[in-house]
Amino acid sequence: MSVAERAMSKLTARRGERTLAVLAGAGVVASAVLSLFVSPPDAEQGSLIRLMYVHVPSAWVAYLSFGVVFVASLAYLKTRRTRWDRLAAASAEVGVLFTALTIVLGSIWAKPVWGTWWTWDPRLTTTAVMLLIYVGYLAVRRIPDSPARRARWAAVVGIVGFADVPIVHLSVRWWRSLHQAPARLIGLPDIAPVMGAALGIGFLAFTLVYLYLMALRLRVGRLEERLVAEALSPRIGQPAESLLDGGMPAPTARPKDAEEVSTGG
């Protein structure tokens, strides 16, 4: 096994999962304490600034997840090992969750500060488009077809989608800058050291939560694969173990011909 695969196995084994749970929990508690109590209210926004401590790390995790989807998709197409497909699927699910969370938190923050739930700000719009692209990714994963084919299609969507995000961002930024309504852009305010620390802990905590959710989801993914392999094995006369990790036989017929094949017994 390569170094990457060994690392992944370590992280997602039972003990790794428990450790991550503890670390993530501790991180979240620390982050909550820092952002709610220790850090001071902002000069302009008052206590509303505390939303920054969840909104920004959430956005970071969203982009991180899709970066992982991209790399895992590439790895899957190159090696055809299903562990990469599992990784991509898990990361996409968690990513969609955090993207939606980012947008919702951003909306909640925007309403009192800007007076509106939504604005066609470049970052917000790009995040919304990104959400749609990865919802599409998840939909592709649900197409009723062979797992190997689905995995390949999903991998292509994962790669193309990620390549598109910077172009979308650029186009929306230009689009926006032509219509100047001088709304204050949501840059990071001048950051006092305490706030910087709270934000940093927030990043760490959210990353740990991401890793923990990934470990959970990967375990479920492994179990799903075992289930399918064990169901398939008596039907095609191959031992279940050989069907794991890329050993699934490629289908010999296109889906609409499948009825003819299965009636043959």
């Binding site: 197409l77 488009v129 749609l132 692209i133 919802v135 599409g136 939909a139 592709v140 197409i143 009723p144 077809d145 084919r149 390949r152 299609w153 991998a155 292509v156 969507v157 790669i159 193309v160 989608g161 390549a163 598109d164 172009i167 979308v168 650029l170 186009s171 929306v172 230009w174 689009w175 032509l178 490629a250 289908p251 296109r254 889906p255 609409k256």
Partner: protein, 224 residues
């Protein structure tokens, strides 16, 4: 170059099929027309709002109608095992992708020419103030759209369950084409053709990225 020759052969075949089946004329164009009428009904009858929103409505109509074109481009391959035969032939996968993209792009250009005339009549969009800029915007934008549609179009053919995925995938991915195309059309219609440069550059970048990416990954999508 072999690639170019193969892609040309592929495109030629697809264009011949398109011309003979008259799907473009019979289904895609009327659909675009229906959309335009619907837009007009929902936003009109006041002329000024329609004129303002004409570039956006135009591109939306093209975007939605193109979904039909892409679906059809791959539907022809699913009959009589045509796709399997294509895969067995020595055709490079990238040239299949390119050929299909070119064929649909040509169909869409013809569609757009007609739709432009319609929109100029229905919504008062002015075509002749900066015709070169307008043409460039549609030329380049359609190439980008065709790249995406040709790449994922193989997901759009039967069985039924996959069809609904296709618009969901293509429309968000085509966001830069929509944004840049609409902006460039707006500027061209206002006679400010000289300012479309950066939007056209964005479209070129998009086209280059997705045509090359498409050529590399297309094989993964249609291999069995």
């Amino acid at each position: 170059m072999i690639l170019v020759r193969q892609a040309a052969a592929m495109a030629g075949k697809d264009l011949r099929i398109q011309m003979r089946s008259r799907y473009g004329l019979g289904a895609v164009l009327p659909f675009a027309g229906t959309l335009l009428i619907a837009f007009g009904l929902s936003l009109g009858p006041g002329r000024s709002l329609l004129q303002q929103t004409a570039p956006g409505l135009l591109w939306l109509a093209v975007l939605f109608a193109s979904v039909l074109s892409f679906r059809q481009a791959y539907q022809v391959e699913s009959e009589d095992g045509a796709l399997e035969a294509l895969l067995l032939s020595p055709f490079d996968r990238g040239s299949i992708f390119l050929g299909k993209a070119v064929a649909v792009a040509v169909e869409l250009w013809l569609l757009e020419a007609i739709v432009l005339l319609l929109v100029s009549a229905l919504f008062g969009l002015s075509l002749w103030k900066a015709p070169a800029a307008l043409a460039a915007a549609f030329l380049l934008g359609t190439i980008g759209l065709s790249a995406i549609g040709s790449l994922f179009g193989s997901l759009a053919d039967s069985p039924r369950a996959r069809e609904a995925i296709f618009p969901l995938l293509v429309l968000p991915l085509a966001t830069p084409v929509l944004v840049a195309g609409v902006k460039a059309t707006e500027l061209a219609a206002a006679g400010r053709g000289a300012e479309v440069g950066s939007w056209l550059a964005l479209l070129v970048a998009f086209d280059v990225v997705f045509l090359s990416l498409g050529m590399v990954v297309f094989g993964q999508l249609i291999e069995d």
